[in-house]
């Protein structure tokens, strides 16, 4: 831990997101925020609390419940020279703006021969774990990662929660930021004085030589906990935080696989057609002969997320499931 980190204030992931918004609004007059209840209410998950008082109604804009219109307006404002940040309450609601995200934001640059880049940032809450049931709990970021023209990022640490927004705003492409609701109350110390974060690369959050866990977002901490438990048995786990789902950092992923020869993918998304399938196939394409065991996955059960806690817990990746899957892989003979 650096000296800076010690002196930096303790804060939550939610507050780190807010600091990122503050940084952006302070540093560039072209930046503004719009979305449902981002102003007077302070944000559905209280991320934008107090920003209205600090930056005013021109730049902190409450919108009607019109996802398609305000996401499309973000595209238009970006084309018009501004740097909009659009907040969508949850990934489930983003489906109401899918036309604008997929048919316009993702296509305009290529379709216009490079004339119309869309420097738009869309933030949204993702993930389960708060008993919000089947229309507020899904993890569709891997699904968005299917779309050429979009950049998909998932901050899992406080530094990324604060810094990825600035990196996204400096990027000329549409960037979708997925903020896991299970992390909002997580507390820690921001690394101050650090260089700005990137939105192109994965990061190794724990180094190990026996098995690689590939994960991102809310599942990162489950993987780190699993790694701690496995270390007690002498199994050294490497935990890779993907950070960006599009583009995927193939180089770091493959490098880790070449060192550990075993891979477990942990994804809160569904297994079928998900980002875990893409990750597994990329490893097969690029490092098949490095593998000492079949690639394994721990994903969310293929059900709409149910409301009662015991069923929700059973549906999601859990530390015991991750530990068991990792153990099974490590115990296989090459």
């Amino acid at each position: 831990m650096t000296a800076d980190a010690v002196t930096s204030p303790r804060m939550s992931y939610r507050e780190a997101l807010r600091e990122g918004l503050r940084d952006a609004l302070r540093s560039d007059p072209r930046v503004f925020l719009m979305g449902e209840d981002v102003g007077l209410y302070g944000g559905c998950y209280a991320v934008t609390k107090s920003l209205l008082a600090e930056f005013g109604e021109e730049r902190i804009r409450d919108t009607p419940l019109s996802e398609s219109a305000f996401v499309g307006a973000g595209i238009g404002a970006a084309l018009g020279g501004l740097r909009p940040i659009v907040e969508i309450m949850t990934v489930n609601f983003s489906l109401l703006a899918l036309d604008q995200i997929v048919n316009s934001a993702a296509t305009l640059c290529h379709m216009s021969g490079g004339q119309c880049p869309v420097p738009l940032v869309i933030r949204m809450a993702t993930g389960a774990g708060r008993q919000l049931a089947a229309q507020h709990s899904h993890s569709l970021e891997g699904w968005y990662a299917h779309i050429p023209g979009l950049r998909i990022v998932a901050p899992a640490t406080l530094d990324d929660a604060r810094g990825m927004l600035g990196a996204a705003l400096r990027c000329p492409d549409p960037v979708l930021i997925f903020e896991h609701i299970g992390l909002l109350n997580m507390e820690g110390n921001l690394t101050t004085g650090a260089v700005p974060v990137d939105i192109d690369r994965a990061a190794i959050r724990r180094a190990g030589r026996d098995i690689t866990l590939l994960t991102y977002g809310g599942s990162l901490y489950k993987c780190l906990e699993a790694a701690t438990q496995l270390a007690a048995d002498g199994i050294e786990v490497e935990v890779v935080d993907l950070r960006t789902l599009r583009p995927l950092d193939d180089a770091l992923i493959v490098d880790s696989v070449r060192r550990t020869h075993r891979v477990l993918i942990v994804d809160e998304g569904w297994r079928s057609g998900g980002i875990s399938a893409e990750l597994g196939m990329r490893i097969v394409e690029q490092a098949f002969f490095e593998l000492d065991a079949p690639i394994a996955r721990v994903c969310t059960a293929e059900v709409p997320i149910p409301y009662p806690k015991h069923l929700e817990d059973a549906a999601l990746p859990s530390v015991p499931r991750i530990v068991a899957a990792a153990r099974a892989l490590v115990s296989r003979e090459p």
Binding site: F70, V71, G72, A77, P84, Q100, C116
Partner: protein, 330 residues
């Protein structure tokens, strides 16, 4: 000049300009239809035949700083906005010299230097984008407005209602132009809307909304000029319904089983070119020789555009993945 264009006095120069602009679009598109049968133009091709008065009347009322969003039936709008005919024809061919580098074709003409933002082929999809372009003008305290064209089919889409509400709520400088040609592809307005008065729907959002004869270029221009002046003056969005008719098929694949030939012929007699020419001749503003001269000039420009497109290069396949993401300055 006539009862349908009250208060407007045309002079010869103005009449010639309007006729030249409409003829230019008509001759360009007639050649496109021919090129389609020759397989030079592929994909979907949606012609504007019968609706030219709207693009001419509205776009002639805009300034260079204004932003324009159009639909997949946008050749007329592109020409009126100043997209060079050579670049437009090359785009129809898919050649690299096209206005979108050949990437978009007939439905996706872009020319950012002229603030022409497509060419959107999702019905209703352009309205939110135009609303955002207007928001950018307002927040940046610029003087431009956004003009957004769409058909009456878009009125059934949620994006129409969401966008009009947002634009009115935030008093954004945007002109919504509904080109009501009565058919959403093959579905008549009366078969798709419980209330067929499009203008009334827009008025319900609290913005000035006017319906004009979209076949009368002078009436369209007068209405557009008035709306644009008010919007530029900071008075919020306006809506202009231009009542018109598509005289050719929806696209080149359309057998037109959904409408009577007699109906088409009745509207053909009301076509914007024939009526305007007849009226100008009757008023002594232009002669048959003028008309033929303008037609000849337009044909010559079209000939040159076709030659340009024919002789242009295809984009290299090596460039296929270029521009999926913007290129960052080094």
């Amino acid at each position: 000049m006539t009862a349908s264009s009250p208060g407007v006095t045309l002079d010869r120069e103005h009449a010639l300009t309007l006729l030249r602009q409409m003829l230019r679009i008509r001759q360009f598109e007639d050649r496109c239809a021919q090129l389609y049968t020759e397989l030079k133009i592929r994909g979907f091709l949606h012609l504007y035949n019968g609706e030219e008065a709207i693009a001419v009347g509205v776009l002639g009322s805009l300034e260079p700083q204004d932003a324009v969003v159009a639909t997949y039936r946008e050749h007329g709008h592109a020409l009126m906005r100043g997209v060079p005919m050579n670049a437009l024809m090359a785009e129809m061919f898919g050649k690299h010299t096209g206005s979108s580098g050949g990437r978009g074709g007939s439905m996706h003409v872009f020319d950012v230097a002229r603030r022409f933002y497509g060419g959107n082929a999702i019905v209703g999809g352009g309205l939110p984008i135009a609303t955002g372009l207007a928001l950018a003008e307002k927040l940046a305290k610029h003087t431009g407005i956004a003009a957004c064209f769409f058909g009456e089919g878009a009125v059934a889409e949620g994006e129409f209602h969401e966008s009009l509400n947002l634009a009115a709520l935030w008093r954004l400088p945007v002109l919504f132009i509904c080109e009501n040609n009565l058919y959403a592809m093959g579905t008549a307005l009366s078969r798709s809307e419980s209330v067929t008065d499009v203008r009334a729907k827009a008025a319900a959002y609290g913005m000035p909304a006017l319906a004009v004869d979209g076949m009368d270029v002078v009436a369209v221009q007068a209405a557009a000029q008035s709306a644009v002046a008010s919007i530029r003056g900071g008075n919020g969005p306006q809506f202009l319904e231009c009542r018109t008719y598509r005289l050719r098929a929806h696209s080149m694949f359309d057998a037109q089983l959904y409408r009577d030939k007699a109906e088409v012929e009745a509207w053909r007699a009301r076509g914007p070119l024939i009526t305007f020419t007849t009226r100008c001749k009757a008023a002594g503003l232009i002669s048959e020789a003028d008309f033929l001269q303008l037609q000849k000039e337009a044909d010559a420009e079209v000939d040159a555009a076709v030659a340009f497109a024919e002789s242009s290069e295809w984009e290299s396949v090596d460039e296929l993945e270029r521009w999926v993401y913007a290129e960052r300055p080094a």
